[in-house]
Symmetry: C2
Subunit: 368 residues, 2 copies
């Protein structure tokens, strides 16, 4: 038995366990094995670990203080598989990105200066610089806040995340195929890499209701299968996989897009994450949508005015607003998130356990 | 902001947060308010707290060392409401009961003696004595184990729980109406109080498939409504509520029962918890089922042999086995559970937050 320190934080609409990189080094076991065991995976209920049995609550933030100039924190995101026994390191999570600044300030990795302190983060999954403005009233580290975002009932500390020059961090180009629109599986889509690689599918191209609820979308198995096929073919076109079957589950992401409601939003979006409808919106996806709105000829061009500074995205949890601005003299896409520290923990990692019986138990459980 | 120590443990098929009673005393706030805020309730996702957004993962175990003779630990169970903003203290949870013995041993409240140490627990919700046998090899406290139970993929420390003389702890009688069978809403049912008050409904009496999967049962809204109506009328007959509308959500529990599969089980059971199908079986419910099997003329009499020592209950997660035995010279019903400490934590309780805006946010989220 081994004890591993970790901090549980809400970042935006996600719950994220924060680990300092060194604590995941366990003799004889890979980092993936350690994380899967701590989270109670594989198990659809993750009942024997810290995982929350949904994609937005089975996430890890791995941090180390940076010794590189201009970077305060090296940040690696991990999506912990619930039933597949795998850890996906191929993408970032924008919601969890929001916890890194407050964590670094509390930990003393960054010294607060003035009313707002900027924390500079390198996301190692995507090579993306994320600059985060964290409130530090009177130069003091603070954890409690009163800001609110859609999809979260309680207030939190509001932080402003800027994804600096986000284009092409994974594939090398904003438009990896060179086209603003591609036809994949007979459907007009935009394949774009900013914040994360995404596939934008106009809802009417696949006969879907753009304002469908997550539960209703999750019940449309034929549509979900078709979207996953489009996503996998797109992965190959974007240079992310050699073959559709090899496409990672988390990359690229895919979203249905349609017109917004004139009074309140510019674009309506329903994003899928790990094969299920996201209850709100992956924030890296909102970066991609903002970049798409600023790029001529994409499938978003029908809905948006182009160079608008503020973009309002209608999600199942409410309207998420993004901004286009400048940081370090480069185009930066800004999103506001709230965070809260839920608690500090010492997690128990059991000694190695025999692998064979759990499979038997699972089979018996599913058969009965 | 206030910090509250707690320990997260798996007990059987539940995840339970353990609090020592005194830590929940917070000036100006009720224990219910403290628990709801820590768990992130009300919110269907409990994303801002430690709740797991399901009935089996939104539970609290409140403990105090006992100064009464023959009792080691005073144990109070709380079911933390997810969306209704309420804490239900009306029933015990048998799965969470399994964590109390190992917690008391680790905490030094009970001194280990020999290969197995007995911990004597008073459940204050039901006035039930629970005697738990915990392995202490060579007289040492141990936390890791290799035992397995249906519904949990990983092994854990196996403990044997004995519910001593469990009849009538809540209502005063094993059969609160005096009858082994009652007719409620036109249906033959058994109303019984042992471990917890339960309503046993033969599946064929309501036209249900006794072996239905939890997902399929949860999708049958008419049936769920009918079962809840039966449950609420039964609550009045059992003296648990003055009026069906006032029946607690967690008490009595209700279960569909039907014949087992001859080779593997005696009874098939699908139990509801907080209006949804339990993924396995409430252990307090298994105590009630065992008592019903030992009582002549109940709706279980059709399926069971009566005085059998071992009863095999077919649940969605696999077969749960109970035993009838003797402790303190009284009839005791025994169940094996496994437990694991997931971690120790210091949870953050924010200062009071304004109440009005969350409701607005929730309304906006559900409307959009």
């Amino acid at each position: 038995m081994r004890e591993i320190p970790a901090t549980w934080m809400r970042g935006g609409t996600s719950k994220c366990w924060v680990f300092e990189r060194d604590v995941l080094t366990v003799p004889g076991r890979s980092v993936d094995e350690v994380l899967l065991r701590l989270y109670g995976s594989p198990d659809p209920r993750q009942v024997d670990g810290v995982g929350g049995a949904t994609s937005t609550t089975s996430k890890a933030v791995v941090l180390a203080r940076s010794d590189r100039p201009g970077i305060d924190v090296e940040y690696t995101f991990a999506q912990i598989g619930i039933t597949d026994g795998r850890v996906d390191w191929t993408s970032n999570c924008g919601n969890c990105s929001a916890v890194v600044g407050p964590y670094a300030l509390r930990r003393g990795w960054v010294v607060p200066t003035g009313e707002v302190t900027t924390v500079r983060i390198n996301n190692t999954n995507t090579g993306q610089l994320i600059v985060v403005d964290v409130p530090t009233p009177s130069g003091q580290v603070t954890e409690q806040g009163t800001e609110r975002i859609p999809g979260v009932a309680q207030p939190g500390l509001g932080v402003q995340l800027w994804f600096v020059d986000p284009a092409g961090r994974t594939t090398g180009a904003l438009l990896p195929t060179g086209n603003a629109v591609d036809v994949v599986d007979g459907v007009r889509v935009t394949l774009l890499d900013a914040g994360a690689p995404v596939v934008l599918v106009p809802a009417d191209e696949v006969g879907a209701d753009g304002e469908v609820s997550p539960a209703a979308l999750d019940s449309q198995e034929d549509l979900l299968r078709r979207l996953d096929r489009i996503r996998r073919i797109a992965a190959v076109r974007m240079g992310l996989a050699a073959d559709p079957a090899e496409a990672a589950r988390a990359t690229p992401k895919i979203a249905l897009v349609s017109a917004g409601r004139p009074a309140s939003s510019d674009v309506t979006v329903r994003m899928l994450s790990m094969g299920r409808t996201h209850p709100a919106l992956a924030i890296t996806g909102s970066v991609a949508l903002t970049a798409a709105a600023h790029t001529a000829g994409t499938v978003l061009s029908d809905f948006t005015a182009g160079e608008q500074e503020v973009l309002r995205l209608d999600t199942p949890a409410g309207v998420v607003t993004t901004r286009a601005g400048t940081r370090d003299g480069l185009l930066a896409i800004g999103v506001t998130r709230t965070t809260r520290r839920i608690g500090d923990a010492i997690l128990v990692l059991p000694d190695d356990e025999p692998l064979e019986p759990p499979l038997t138990v699972l089979a018996a459980a599913s058969a009965s």
